[in-house]
Every structure is written in structure tokens, then in C-alpha cells.
Amino acid sequence: MQVNRPVTPNSQAPVSEVPRNQPPKAPEKEPNVPSSSTTPSAPTDTANVKPVATDGMTADASGKIQEAKLGSEIGNVLGDNENDDIGQLKDAMHKAAEEFGPEVGEKMFNKLFIDPKSSAEYDKGLAEAAKKYKELKKSDPAAAETFKKDMACKMCEKINKTKNGEDDPGC
């Protein structure tokens, strides 16, 4: 004896009527740039610099990205954080993201340094993960560098959507 319930698949309100939350608004206050980063220096030559899309960002955030891009090397922009593990990991993440192209690099830059909520969460997550990095730096500096690059690369891959949900073995 089956215990089927009387169910009609389309008897529910259409999917489109299930309300989505409103997308988060851009912060009205000036975003908190983490202390590990330094203010990008003003560009000296802007002749051949490609403009960066800044849809939906505050003018200030947009300006910071533009300046960082104009500086061309985020490593230069954030270059004085050798003693800051989290800053180094963030820097490595941004570099890894740029390997996927400028748009991905820009998106990651925004998440790492501009958006205050996301930046704070990265600080937290990286602080936990950086414990191993700190240990490795003492015991095996070369392994620490590999670790940094590997982790940065893994953390930024998703932003490029290189994974699309195919990789899900198991019942």
C-alpha cells in the first residue's frame, strides 16, 4: 500500500512569487580599508591605462580601485606589509585572482580590501588559516611560500567560477 499524498506539482505559487531579499546596498560611509594595506600612491602617468568598470560602487571605492589599477601592480600598492601575514595572504590572493584576468582581479580586490563586511570576514578566515602559514615560515620558509600561493589560488578560484558544481562525487 503506497502512502502517496495528494500532490500536484504546480499547485504552489509560481517560483517568481517567492520573494528574493533586496540586494545589499553599497555602504554610505567611507569603507574601512584594513590597516594592513597602504593608500595607493597617485599615478604619475595615466595615458595608457584602461578604465575599470565600477558599476554599483561608491565613488570612493571606485577611486581606490582605479588608483590601484593605475599603479598596475597591487604588490607595489600593498608592498609594506611583509610583517603582516594576513596582508601577505590577501596580497597573494589578489595576485592569484589577477591570473584569471583583470575583471576577476578587480572583483577580488573589492572583496578583500574595499567591501567592509567581506574584507572583515576574509581577515577572520585568513587569521585562522594563517596559523599554519606562521608555523611553516619558521620551520620551512620555502614550503610557507608554496602554501601561501596554493591557498591564495584556491580561495580565489571560485570568484572566477572555474568550478561550476561538477565536482561533487559521492552518493
Binding site: 504552489q12 517560483v15 584556491k154 571560485k158 561550476n164
Partner: protein, 360 residues
């Protein structure tokens, strides 16, 4: 560092050949905020796994050395409900720091904007959320009132943080397996931009023992349902579909381009499972443990466990119509979890197999 992750994630043009993936399903707890009537768990009372992450890492390192560096290790975090672990984010960070890939299985109802962001920054490859129907009426009949909307909202929260999400749909005979259900589900997937939808059948164990009519025990009925699922999926070429079932490739037909079939049985191939009480299972759905990490190591179980080896070599132990079946080399008896769940006997034919017995 267990793996050079750089090799896995560089852009395609500079990537070396992909590694094989070994999956360990690790239950972080056996506590849940829902009481789904089809759950393959029974009582849910363990708040924290008896095997901590550090111990798991030790065992994985030894197993990984044995398997070789051609493998990468993927930890599939499961429960219970993973979001009930207060230290979940710390666990994810530790797994990331060890260099393992992560997938999470959740009912999605406890996802918030805050923990969606927190999961996303910790490099979880994929979050799999269960939707057992295209709407609240079907889903909530199994999972409880209001859970469909909560799960859908959870998916949206994760998607908003660039977190890949897939949807898992448990097929239940007579409950959610008509052409109309499938069509509505694919419309939902298209509308909500799901990365993919996984289909697998209900396993009659744990709480699901109370729903015997939902299990597939009629081969022709099961075959007809699979054909209908495939035909409906073909109407939605933009929706990625995965059908996980050991019998799926026994269908003598072509499959739509958007459908990936997965014969699923990973027993002693590239999968093992550790439950919250420390038991080790060859397949999480096959309710017969092969050992326990409380008194053994993962590597020793993998290499030397007799039951695990018999399950791996099940072809020679299969009874009934499987013994003379001309495709038994590839099929190996279908799903042992389904047959064991129904009969409490190992090595008997899959109850959903539609093939006739071939005389000797």
C-alpha cells in the same frame, strides 16, 4: 601541505592533467534541526563528531601517501546538519589550511547572509542543498512546514556571495517522480540559476524505513521513471542535470547533452565515509559499517578490511539473477545500499533492476 593546489586551479591553458579525486564523507555531527521523514539517519543525538579534525587529518595524510599524489582529497562535510556546528567556520579554515578541497551538504535552512559570506571566503568548492520537490507542497511534506522557502532562501544567500551551490533531489516513488514534478523542478532550476540538479533515489534505511512505499522495488516502474526524467531533462538544455544511480547506464538509450550520469558506486574505488560516532562505511547509504576509527585507522581499514574487500569484489558473491546476467561485470549488482536496506542481506540483486533473469 598535502597537495599543490595551484595545479588544480590555474587557468586551463596552463593546467596540468587533472588529478583523480578521493572523497571522504565526514559527518561533523549527527544532530539536525529538521526531522525529515525520508532521512537515512535514525536517531540524531551526536552534537560533535567523535573523530576530531586533527585525527582525521592524520589518517588522511597516511591514506593519501598510500593512494599517491595523483589523487587530491576532497572532504565532504555532512551531518546531521553542518550549520549546527558552532565552530564550522574554524573547521573550514583548518581544512583549507591543510590543502584539502571541501564540499558541504546541508538542508540550507540555517543559512544567513553572514554565514553565507563566511562559507564563501573559506573556499568551499560546492554547497549541496536538498530540495525534494519543486515547491513547498512536495518538499515540506517530507521536511516540514516552511522548509522549502527557507532552503530556497539559503540557496539565494549563498549564490549572492558567489558560492557555487548545487541542488540534491531525492527521488521518491509516487511522491515527487512524475513528469510534472520534473518539469517544474527544471523550471525552478532555470529561474534560480542552480549550478546543477543531482537526482538520486531514496534509500530505505534509518527513518526512511517508515516510508517503504517510496522505495523503488519494481524494476519496470523505476526504468519508466528514469526514462521520463531523461526525456524531461532534454527539454531544458541549459539546466545541468546529474543522475546518480548504479543502474542508470543499463538503460539502452542515448542521454541528453545536459545530463551527466554517474553510476555512483564508489565502494573502495575513491570514496569512504566516517560517521559522527566514528564508524567507517564503504558507502554512507549502505547501513553496514566496515570498521571504526575509534579502534582502527583509515589506512588499515582501506587496505586490510575483509568486508570492504568483499564489497569491492562483490561480483563473485552476488546471488539471484545477477549470477547469470550478461552485464554483471559492469553493473555488479546495482546498488548494494538499496538491496541491503530493503532485505538486510548483502549481495542480493538491486530491487529496482528491470532486467529479466537469464537461464544458465
Amino acid at each position: 601541505m598535502s597537495l599543490n593546489l595551484m595545479e588544480q586551479v590555474l587557468p586551463n591553458e596552463v593546467k596540468p592533467a587533472p588529478r583523480k579525486t578521493f572523497v571522504i564523507q565526514y559527518e561533523v555531527n549527527d544532530a539536525c534541526n529538521l526531522r525529515c521523514s525520508h532521512c537515512y539517519h535514525g536517531r540524531k543525538v551526536i552534537k560533535e563528531s567523535a573523530v576530531g579534525l586533527e585525527r582525521l587529518f592524520q589518517d588522511l595524510e597516511a591514506l593519501h601517501s598510500h593512494l599517491g599524489k595523483t589523487y587530491r582529497i576532497l572532504i565532504r562535510l555532512s551531518g546531521g546538519e553542518v550549520f549546527l556546528r558552532k565552530d564550522l567556520m574554524e573547521m573550514l579554515s583548518k581544512i583549507l589550511a591543510e590543502g584539502y578541497a571541501t564540499v558541504m551538504l546541508t538542508n540550507g535552512t540555517l543559512v544567513t547572509p553572514e554565514n553565507a559570506l563566511a562559507v564563501s571566503v573559506r573556499a568551499v568548492d560546492l554547497v549541496q542543498i536538498s530540495l525534494d520537490g519543486p515547491n513547498a507542497e512536495v518538499h515540506d511534506a517530507i521536511r516540514g512546514k516552511g522548509q522549502f522557502v527557507k532552503a530556497l532562501e539559503g540557496i539565494r544567500q549563498l549564490q549572492a556571495e558567489d558560492q557555487p551551490v548545487s541542488v540534491s533531489y531525492t527521488l521518491m516513488q509516487g511522491h515527487n517522480d512524475t513528469q510534472a514534478h520534473f518539469q517544474a523542478m527544471f523550471e525552478l532550476a532555470r529561474h534560480e540559476k542552480f549550478e546543477k540538479v543531482n537526482f538520486s533515489r531514496i534509500f530505505p534505511q534509518g527513518d526512511a524505513h517508515n516510508l517503504p512505499a517510496y522505495a523503488y522495488a519494481d524494476g519496470l516502474r523505476f526504468k519508466e521513471m528514469l526514462e521520463m526524467l531523461l526525456d524531461t531533462a532534454a527539454l531544458f538544455p541549459d539546466v545541468k542535470v546529474v543522475i546518480k544511480d548504479p543502474l542508470i547506464n543499463n538503460l539502452e538509450r542515448t542521454f541528453p547533452d545536459n545530463v551527466k550520469t554517474d553510476v555512483c558506486c564508489y565502494i573502495r574505488k575513491d570514496y569512504i565515509s566516517v560517521t559522527a560516532n566514528g564508524d567507517v562505511f564503504a558507502c554512507r547509504k549502505l547501513a553496514k559499517p566496515v570498521g571504526s576509527l575509534l579502534d582502527d585507522t583509515l589506512l588499515n581499514i582501506w587496505q586490510n578490511n575483509t568486508l570492504l574487500q568483499e564489497l569491492d569484489n562483490r561480483r563473485q558473491f552476488m546471488a539471484g539473477k545477477c549470477r547469470t546476467c550478461p552485464i554483471n561485470d559492469q553493473c555488479k549488482g546495482g546498488c548494494l545500499a538499496a538491496s541491503y536496506g530493503l532485505t538486510q542481506t548483502l549481495f542480493v540483486p538491486d530491487p529496482a533492476c528491470w532486467r529479466e533473469e537469464v537461464p544458465v
